[in-house]
């Protein structure tokens, strides 16, 4: 096996491994979304670690997909080593909207932490 061939095989193995880990985490996410009769499928994990998803069930046509993505799906996948981004059709919002969602999440996290310590 040449050096280049070996590197390509290694990269493929890394990507397969990453896909397996992402798929495993998605099973957990699916259980959460199933409570709303929704779901999410893995479309692909690109060579540079971008995870592409597709919402299914009730999530597919829901206007709140961007919130579900920001609050549930993306956080669950983003901390997997090798994931550089998470994307799904119909969840791309403006920078302003994204910032508002993140701010709301941070506020909620702070409130929850405060309640725990109260």
């Amino acid at each position: 096996m040449s050096s280049a061939t070996g590197q390509a095989a290694g990269a493929r193995a890394d990507r397969d491994d990453l896909s397996t880990r992402v798929a495993g985490r998605l099973e957990l996410v699916e259980r959460v979304l199933a409570s709303h009769a929704g779901g999410v499928q893995l479309v692909e994990v690109s060579g540079d670690g971008l995870v592409r998803l597709r919402f299914t069930g009730m999530c597919a046509g829901c206007m709140l997909k961007p919130l579900t993505m920001a609050a549930v799906v993306a956080p669950a996948l983003s901390d997997i080593a090798g994931v550089t981004g998470v994307d799904a059709a119909g969840t791309r919002v403006s920078g302003q909207a994204h910032a508002r969602v993140l701010a709301a999440q941070a506020q909620e996290a702070a409130t929850t932490a405060g309640l725990r310590h109260a």
Partner: protein
């Protein structure tokens, strides 16, 4: 009252459009026959329907080149080539039959004319056939599909279900499903539907997109392309295209309104990017009816979502990647065309 715009010396040509290396694959052009000779003598409403269509084209057209053309005629393939490929710098296009027989002897975008366009420019033009199950019956429509695919090389099929005095439904299991099954048997996986925007005085609700949901469910291996945003049923279309992975939206003739009503286009495109996703959107010019695509391409390439709409509606900005996908990559993916290879082929064939 429509006031003609002030005369300018600008004539749009390929080099004046800021295509910037983007591959333009026009989902829908038509070699129309809107001549008097093609109007049905047995339909007293034929001329009125033709004039209504021509008037809608006049309202939507822009550019000096476009303003000087006569549209109530049988277009030649050379004229369409000049308009689409020379004037506008388009790389590839699909010539689509419009199987609208109500007022025309030979459809108003006839089979032979679309096929002739593809045959004359095989490296740049794909042929999309068309058939209708109530024109001469289902058996004839199935024979037409066979003929157009096997003998004429159709790579897609177009349907128009709104008619006078009666329409058919796209979810009719006796009338419509056999068409889709025949397409599938022949390897045709991209089916296209004129929805909304009636050409004539048909019931507008007959052209609602809602009857594509059952076929999209029942034929998950086929792709359903919905044209004209199904206007005025845009909300329904957004819901359908967002939920069904095999439903796509052709912006046929719609981007032309970038020039007339840019804020409305920002709203439409912003909502599609937000709720449906850019991968589902296809550029379609509707040339020749709306003239050369050049000014509309130019306007779309400059169109941006303003800060206020990003903030107030959450619409994402239109990126270069979005423009590349909408203008060519998405349709190339649907039609299994390798754009890198196609670019090389076209460059090698260039004089």
């Amino acid at each position: 009252m429509w006031t003609p715009r002030p005369h300018t010396a600008v004539v749009f040509r390929a080099e004046s459009v800021l295509l910037d290396g983007i591959f333009i694959f026009d989902n829908v052009i038509h070699v129309y026959d809107m001549s008097d000779a093609n109007l049905r003598a047995d339909r007293p409403d034929a001329r009125q329907a033709r004039e209504q269509l021509l008037a809608s084209g006049t309202r939507g057209r822009s550019g000096e080149y476009n303003a000087g053309l006569d549209y109530a005629k049988r277009w030649s393939i050379e004229e369409i080539y000049e308009m689409v490929f020379v004037q506008a710098g388009t790389d590839m296009a699909m010539a689509q039959v419009v199987p609208l027989f109500d007022w025309y002897n030979d459809y108003f975008a006839p089979v032979h004319a679309q096929h002739a366009m593809a045959a004359a420019y095989p490296d740049r033009v794909l042929f999309c056939g068309g058939a209708d199950p109530i024109y001469r019956g289902l058996s004839d429509a199935l024979e037409q599909i066979d003929h157009q695919v096997k003998d004429l090389g159709a790579s897609s099929m177009k349907f128009y279900n709104g008619h006078l005095p009666r329409s058919w439904r796209c979810d009719d299991e006796q009338l419509a499903y056999p068409l889709y099954e025949r397409c599938r048997t022949l390897g045709i996986t991209v089916l296209q539907f004129h929805k909304g925007v009636p050409i004539g005085l048909q019931n507008v609700e007959d052209l609602r997109p809602n009857d594509l949901q059952a076929p999209a469910r029942d034929f998950p291996d086929l792709s359903f392309v919905v044209h004209h945003l199904a206007l005025p049923y845009f909300d329904e279309l957004v819901s359908i295209a967002a939920r069904f992975p095999n439903v796509y939206i052709a912006l046929s003739g719609i981007l032309n309104y970038c020039l007339i009503a840019p804020r409305r286009m920002q709203d439409i495109l912003g909502r599609l990017l937000l709720e449906v996703g850019v991968d589902k959107l296809l550029w379609g010019s509707e040339a020749a009816l709306l003239g050369s695509p050049a000014p509309y391409l130019d306007a779309f390439l400059k169109l941006e979502i303003p800060e206020t709409m990003q903030s107030d509606y959450g619409y994402p900005q239109i990126t270069r990647e979005d423009r590349e996908l909408i203008l060519g990559k998405n349709f190339a993916r649907l039609m299994n065309i390798d754009l890198d290879q196609k670019r090389t082929e076209l460059a090698a064939a260039a004089p």
